[in-house]
């Protein structure tokens, strides 16, 4: 783990991880109560990747996500009330209820878009990076995707073009070992996706994605590389989702022992232990962080559920600009 960080600067990272965890758990609870509908993919267990990466980004950096991106948007600074309202399909949501869980756009925070198509936003991130390079203000683009996207054509085409044009884009692979219900080993013989980056001559690293500081260290190098005009970088984070592929997925394809192993590696518990080891936080403050974030999420849920539904005449508005 990195040691050069000032301990007090690390506490906000714990808070953001808790904000994501509390948000996702609330979404799960509201889904179970049928207060939230739709197809929901939660990132519980993967918070260290979102927070480690986004903690080193500027507001004017561009972030693109996938179908499991609530946490990425929160880590980039999206407003939790508007995000919760969007997932609940309300008029006050970021996208006025037209996007939903898989199509989050929080432009005020620099979260450009997520997608319901696996691998679909990888090329978009290249485009934002292209524009950033032309504007020459040191901005970078980041795209989050899973191991399942690593077998998509867009992934390979994008690595090639990003490398060829030296685009300031950082590829962040959340390798959680499963593409929907199927283990990665059934989809490819190349289980370390960073190897593909090597093929396209992109600097890459594979890190423990449940170790916040290891992710952050890798990202610091990647961001430095991209911001200084040296081209793209690739960070593969080995992690695991502790819920099913989607809410309602009983995940029978996963051995309970595997789940138990990953629960032992819970990124929030690990980072909390590290903060305590460094004497950066007291037990009382740890409890306060959790309570504060859970209260904020309760308020976000109340805001969302008290918000109006979109008006019927919104159904075919904003089809074109």
């Amino acid at each position: 783990m990195a040691t050069r960080e000032n301990p007090t600067e690390l506490v906000p990272l714990l808070r953001t991880m808790w904000l994501i965890r509390a948000f996702e758990e609330k979404v799960s609870a509201l889904y179970a109560m049928r207060e939230i509908r739709g197809l929901l993919h939660l990132g519980i267990g993967q918070e260290a990747v979102a927070v480690g990466i986004c903690s080193l980004l500027r507001t004017d950096d561009y972030v693109f996500g996938g179908h499991r991106s609530h946490g990425h948007a929160i880590a980039k600074g999206a407003d939790i009330n508007r995000l919760m309202a969007e997932i609940a399909g309300r008029a006050t949501g970021y996208c006025a209820g037209k996007g939903g869980s898989m199509h989050i756009v929080a432009l005020d925070a620099g979260f450009v878009t997520a997608t319901g198509v696996v691998g679909g936003t990888i090329p978009l991130a290249l485009g934002a990076a292209f524009a950033a390079k032309e504007k020459n203000k040191g901005q970078v683009a980041v795209v989050f995707f899973g191991d399942g996207a690593g077998q998509a054509g867009a992934f390979h085409e994008s690595l090639n073009i990003a490398s060829l044009w030296r685009l300031p884009v950082i590829f962040v692979c959340e390798n959680n070992g499963y593409a929907e219900f199927t283990p990665l080993s059934s989809h490819t013989l190349v289980e370390r996706l960073a190897r593909h980056a090597q093929t396209y001559k992109i600097p890459s690293t594979t890190v423990d994605g449940n170790d916040l500081l290891e992710v952050r260290d890798a990202m610091a190098k990647a961001a430095q590389h991209a911001r200084t005009g040296k081209g793209p970088a690739f960070v593969e984070c080995l992690t695991h989702r502790l819920r099913g592929h989607y809410e309602g997925d009983s995940a029978k394809y996963r051995e309970l022992s595997e789940l138990a192993e990953w629960k032992e590696k819970d990124p929030i518990a690990r980072f909390t232990r590290e903060l305590k080891r460094r004497k950066a936080i007291s037990d009382k403050d740890i409890a306060a962080v959790e309570n504060e974030t859970r209260n904020l999420i309760e308020e976000a849920a109340q805001f969302a559920l008290a918000s109006p539904w979109p008006a019927p005449d919104e159904v075919a508005s904003q089809v074109t600009a």
């Binding site: 006025a96 037209k98 936003t121 504007k135």
Partner: protein, 327 residues
């Protein structure tokens, strides 16, 4: 007004828009080298290879790059060399370009122009000859433009580049070397507005792209037999200017739709439906489509000429429509 070929008019439109707006960038295979037909010749020299960007043969990703660049403030123009290859980019075009404005509740705009060349000429066979415009017109959020003459090509292209929405600009290869007068400088043709290419009284023909030339030839020949045909060029397929077509049909009471795409599920079906809804009681004969058979485009010259509708098929359809009155 100077005369230009269709191809030169497009090049002029691109040149003017790149001069007018530094956020306009071109992306595509071989675009910095002029492309296979020379449409973009000289643009890399004029604006630099930063703005006229040669891409690998990765249509899907290149389309995505352009969409991403549009989200970050550029106004990209992507060239897909043949419309047959737009199939590779349909995910990005349909799932992202077309939907991001709506899905984001208006937060994002995608000012993207997709230039794509289509149609039958030169016996190129099934992978270099298709007309897929009705696929595109079926997608909410995409505008689809299909000019038939050099002046419209320039004016519609400039309008497409300035539009804040994704616009697919379809260029029929068989029109590239046709010539016509093209207004100089600032000349914009509004997207979504049809043109009456020839006025007439007895029957209306709606024809797209190169089929407009065949329709005008047919109308000229029929006129010498005392039959007066009105010819309409929709110019934009989505949004479709139904009003201009309906106004004409209310006058002539008969409608024939001509396109080079296969007849089944083509844009003609949409035009026919909308016209019968608006002008059913004005019609004196069934609406007829003259279009390609429901088959892939064959390579052999002997078969290709049977595939493409032309003046003869149009005249036959007109005569049938007019005789129907006496039955």
């Amino acid at each position: 007004m100077p005369e230009q070929s269709f191809l030169e008019a497009i090049r002029t439109g691109l040149h003017e828009e790149m001069s007018h707006d530094p956020s306009v960038y071109l992306f595509g295979e071989d675009v910095a080298l002029g492309g296979p037909f020379g449409v973009t010749a000289g643009l890399a020299e004029a604006f630099g290879k930063n703005r006229v960007v040669n891409t690998p043969i990765s249509e899907g990703t290149v389309m995505g790059v352009a969409i991403g660049a549009a989200t970050a403030g550029l106004r990209p123009v992507v060239e897909i060399m043949f419309i047959d290859f737009i199939t590779l980019a349909m995910d990005q075009l349909v799932n992202h370009a077309a939907k991001l404005h709506y899905m984001s509740g208006g937060q994002l705009k995608i000012p993207l122009t997709v230039r794509v060349q289509c149609g039958i000429s030169g016996n190129m066979g099934a992978h270099h000859s298709q007309s897929l415009e009705s696929w595109l017109a079926h997608v909410p959020g995409l505008k689809v433009v299909m000019p038939s003459n050099p002046a419209d090509a320039k004016g519609l292209l400039k309008a497409a580049i300035r539009d804040d929405n994704p616009v697919v600009f379809i260029e029929h290869r068989g029109l590239y070397w046709t010539r016509g007068q093209v207004p100089e400088g600032e000349y914009l043709v509004p997207i979504g507005k049809a043109a009456v290419a020839r006025e007439g009284e007895d029957l209306t023909i709606v024809a797209t792209a190169k089929m407009l030339l065949a329709a005008l030839e047919a109308a000229a020949e029929l006129s010498s037999n005392g039959i007066s045909v009105e010819v309409i060029d929709p110019r934009t397929l989505s949004p479709l200017d139904v009003e201009t077509i309906v106004t004409s049909v209310k006058k002539t009471s008969r409608l024939i739709i001509v396109h080079e795409a296969v007849e089944k599920d083509g844009i003609g079906a949409e035009i026919a439906t909308q016209v019968q809804q608006e002008a059913f009681y004005y019609l004196d004969s069934p609406i007829v489509r003259v279009a390609a058979p429901f088959a892939p485009v064959p390579a052999s010259p002997a078969l290709e000429k049977c595939f493409v509708p032309g003046k003869t098929e149009i005249i036959r359809a007109v005569q049938r429509a007019l005789n129907r009155l006496g039955e």
